[in-house]
């Protein structure tokens, strides 16, 4: 089992979700986060004064998958989120030790899907 954590552009969320649905990955957790990458980002202006270098808004996805779903998941995220410009984001893959479905107390692979 793996835990996939992806940081993507907020406006790419819908496309990434579409791609994930296509490969039957339906269980995702989404949160809004702030982060700093190489990207300078979109400049904001407050009453005429320019502000840059702020933390940028990103979307963080968490997806727990069985091993055979890992590659399709990664490919789907890339397909939905990639523009080729700085700021597209990153995907992290972690080993997942355990997974418990609270309702049934099932554990392991069966609990993921």
């Amino acid at each position: 089992m793996k835990l996939v954590i992806a940081i993507i552009q907020p406006y790419k969320l819908e496309e990434v979700k579409e791609e994930l649905y296509k490969v039957d990955v339906n269980l995702i957790t989404v949160s809004e986060v702030l982060g700093h990458g190489r990207q300078k980002g979109i400049t904001e202006v407050y009453r005429g004064a320019k502000e840059t270098g702020n933390l940028l808004r990103k979307i963080r996805l968490e997806i727990a998958v069985n091993d055979n779903f890992l590659e399709p998941t990664i490919k789907a995220i890339i397909k939905g989120a990639k523009t080729g410009e700085t700021g597209d984001g990153k995907i992290f893959v972690l080993d997942l030790k355990e997974c418990v479905r609270i309702r049934t107390e099932e554990r392991g692979s069966v609990a993921i899907g």
């Binding site: 790419k12 819908e14 986060v33 407050y46």
Partner: protein
């Protein structure tokens, strides 16, 4: 003879109506996704700035100067000759400028109503040009036709107390045209659209409050008709809000806040043309009819045809305005307003026919002119933002600002 009480009443009413534009901004702003709320607030407020100036410079003249049957001409350019003396054709007891100022607030909110149709996808520069041209070539001529000295529909005897045709039908039809031509928004399937319903309720409260000035102020004097318009306005809004909630309860299982406030606005828009001519019982009929008809337009017809009138500017204002104008021809009574006319139910079927002609003229002219203006502006400015800008949101891409922070 200037009457000071009348003057005070009309100026205060104008201030009430001014508040409706920011109210509309919150009503609409709460309905969009949060990446676009500032763009909506901005469009409404800039309409207030832009059209205030347009009105002073030439808008008032085009609308109300004694030109021909179809427009006023430029004889009152820059308010030339529009001073502190009353102009009895419009109002015998208040300064001409007070009348001009009251009407200015109508000229501001009408183009702002259309924003609901193309919200979340129109480029700001194109919006400015479109709004200016629409106010000049659609609102002003229509205003002259219905309310202006020598206006063709006015002479025909059409009844439009506070703008069912001039304001709501015209803005609603323009909304339908722009929504169809600009096309649907991106990524609507999965995103919950109203991002802040409390703002929608706040906006409704401001609109409802302002509408007293809109309708009662249109009496232009402190008299029985003004009092009647206050009562009528409130009654229709109440009946419509309540009946929309019940409609949802029956059809969808729960009454929603969003539905109730939408119903209230539909009732207010629908009663606008009738507000100086009908009895309180008629106002209840108008309110209930407004909810039923607008509900069908918003919840049944729109999904079937598939156009994306984002915030239902057509479904609520256009449909409500047309319905109200026709119902005025049915329910108007000379007992309420001797200067008006009797409608169908009071033995004068001809009035309904006149109202029909008025609606037909307002709808067809607005339809054609809005389409032409849209296409013209589209050639020079491209109305719609790029796909990426639309996905990122208009707040950041058009104004480089954001409404909400995550931390702090």
């Amino acid at each position: 003879m200037i009457n000071q009480v009348d003057t005070l009443f009309v100026l205060l009413s104008a201030a009430f109506v001014m508040l409706m534009t920011p109210g509309l901004a919150f009503f609409y702003g709460g309905m969009v996704r949060r990446k676009n709320i500032l763009s909506v607030l901005m469009q409404c407020f800039v309409a207030l700035c832009l059209l205030s100036l347009q009105w002073i410079l030439f808008g008032y003249s085009l609308s109300f100067a004694p030109g021909n049957g179809f427009w006023g001409g430029l004889s009152w350019f820059g308010l030339n000759g529009v001073g502190m003396q009353p102009y009895p054709v419009y109002s015998a007891t208040i300064p001409h400028q007070a009348f001009m100022f009251f009407q200015m607030m109508f000229a501001v909110i009408t183009p702002a109503l259309i924003i609901g149709a193309f919200a979340e996808r129109m480029k700001f520069s194109a919006f400015l040009v479109f709004t200016l041209l629409w106010a000049t070539f659609v609102y002003d001529p229509l205003c002259h036709l219905v309310w202006g000295e020598g206006g063709w529909l006015k002479n025909l005897g059409v009844l439009d107390f506070a703008g069912g045709m001039v304001v709501h039908t015209s803005a609603g039809i323009a909304a339908l045209v722009t929504a169809i031509v600009i096309g649907k928004r991106k990524n609507l399937e999965h995103t919950p659209s109203p991002h802040n319903l409390p703002f929608v309720v706040l906006g409704t409260a401001l609109l409802w409050f302002g509408w007293y000035g809109f309708n009662a102020g249109s009496a232009l004097a402190v008299n029985g008709i003004a009092v009647s318009a206050f009562v009528i306005t409130n009654t229709a809004a109440a009946a419509a809000g309540l009946s929309w909630a019940f409609l949802e309860w029956i059809r969808n299982g729960k009454p929603t806040v969003f539905g109730m406030v939408t119903g209230s606005i539909a009732g207010l828009a629908t009663v606008t043309p009738a507000s100086g001519f009908v009895s309180p019982i008629s106002a209840i009929i108008i309110g209930v009819a407004a909810s039923i008809v607008c509900f069908i337009a918003v919840a049944v017809t729109k999904p079937r045809f598939g156009y994306d009138d984002s915030l239902d500017a057509f479904g609520v204002h256009g449909v409500g305005g047309i319905l109200g104008t026709l119902l005025t021809g049915v329910l108007a009574s000379k007992i309420i307003n001797p200067a008006g006319a009797n409608g169908l139910f009071y033995g004068n079927p001809k009035q309904l026919l006149i109202q029909l002609v008025g609606v037909a003229v307002a709808v067809s002219y607005t339809f054609i002119a809005t389409f032409a203006i849209y296409k013209l502006v589209d050639i020079f400015f491209r109305m719609r933002v790029s796909e990426k800008d639309e996905l990122v949101g208009l707040d950041l891409t058009q104004h480089r600002e954001r409404a909400y922070t995550i931390i702090e």
